[in-house]
Amino acid sequence: MTITYYLALSVILFTLGAVGVLVRRNAIVIFMSLELMFNAANLVFVAYAAYYQLINSQLFVFFVMTVAAAEVAVGLALMVAIFRTKHSIDVDQMSALKG
C-alpha cells in the first residue's frame, strides 16, 4: 500500500465536496459537502501520520473535528435564523445584499 492511494482517494472526496458546494442550492446539502471536504483533509492528515510515524498530525485531525463541530453548530443556527425570515434555505434566494 503506498500513500498515493490515500492521496488519490482524498482528492476525489475533496473534488466531490467542492462540486457539491458549487452545484447544489439547498444550503444544508452545501454544508454537508463542506463536511465532506473536511473529511478529505483529515484523511490526508491521518495517512501522513502513518507514513511518517508521527502522532502530531492525528492531533491536527482532532482539532479540525472540534472546529468543524463549532462551524456546524453556528452554521445550522444561521440556517434556522434565515429560514425564519425568508421561509427558504435556497442559496439563490439569499441575494438581499446583491447590488
Binding site: 488519490a8 444544508i28 502513518a50
Partner: protein, 171 residues
C-alpha cells in the same frame, strides 16, 4: 505489497466514493444525510487501517453521531427535505466542472512527478496512535491549542443560542 490490503482498501474506497456521489445526487436531504453517515463510518474504517483507533472512534461519535444528528434535526425542523432542489443553472455548473478538472489534474501531476519517490507505508507498531499516546501528546505538547478549542466550542455555543433566540416583541 499484500494483495489483501489492496483489495480491502479498494472496497472501502468504492464505498466512500459511492456514498459521496449518493450524497451529491440524492434529491432528498434526509437521504443525503444518511449517505454522509455511511461515508463518515467508512472513512473511520480507513483510519483504523492507518493505525488511528482513537481518531476513528472520535470520527464515529462526533461526526457520524453528533454532527449528523444535528443535521437531521435541522432538516426535519425546517422541513427541508421537501424543498425543491434543482441544480444551479449555467455558469456555476461550468465553474464546478472546471474546479473538479483542476483538482484532478493537480493530483495527476503530483503522482506523475513525485509518486514514484514515495515509499510504501511502513509497518505500524502496536501502540502507535493508541489513546494513551494521543492523550499524552495532547496534554503535554498541545495543551494550549487544546484549551483554545474549548474557548472555540464555548463561543460557538453562545453564538448558536444567540442566533436562534426568538426576538422579543418590542412595544
Amino acid at each position: 505489497m499484500a494483495l489483501g490490503s489492496v483489495i480491502l482498501f479498494a472496497v472501502l474506497a468504492l464505498v466512500v466514493v459511492g456514498s459521496a456521489l449518493g450524497m451529491l445526487l440524492s434529491r432528498n436531504a434526509v437521504y443525503a444525510a444518511l449517505f454522509l453517515v455511511l461515508n463518515f463510518a467508512t472513512v473511520a474504517l480507513l483510519y483504523l487501517i492507518l493505525g488511528a483507533p482513537f481518531i476513528a472512534l472520535t470520527q464515529i461519535t462526533v461526526y457520524a453521531g453528533a454532527i449528523m444528528i444535528l443535521f437531521l434535526f435541522v432538516i426535519m425542523l425546517l422541513g427541508a427535505e421537501k424543498l425543491p432542489d434543482t441544480a444551479r443553472s449555467g455558469r456555476q455548473r461550468w465553474v464546478a466542472a472546471l474546479v473538479a478538472l483542476v483538482f484532478l489534474a493537480e493530483v495527476g501531476l503530483y503522482v506523475a512527478y513525485r509518486g514514484s519517490n514515495l515509499a510504501g507505508m511502513p509497518a505500524l507498531t502496536a501502540d502507535f496512535g493508541s489513546p494513551v499516546a494521543v492523550g499524552l501528546a495532547l496534554f503535554e505538547k498541545y495543551q494550549l491549542p487544546f484549551e483554545i478549542t474549548s474557548v472555540i466550542l464555548l463561543s460557538a455555543l453562545v453564538g448558536a443560542i444567540l442566533l436562534t433566540r426568538q426576538e422579543k416583541q418590542r412595544s
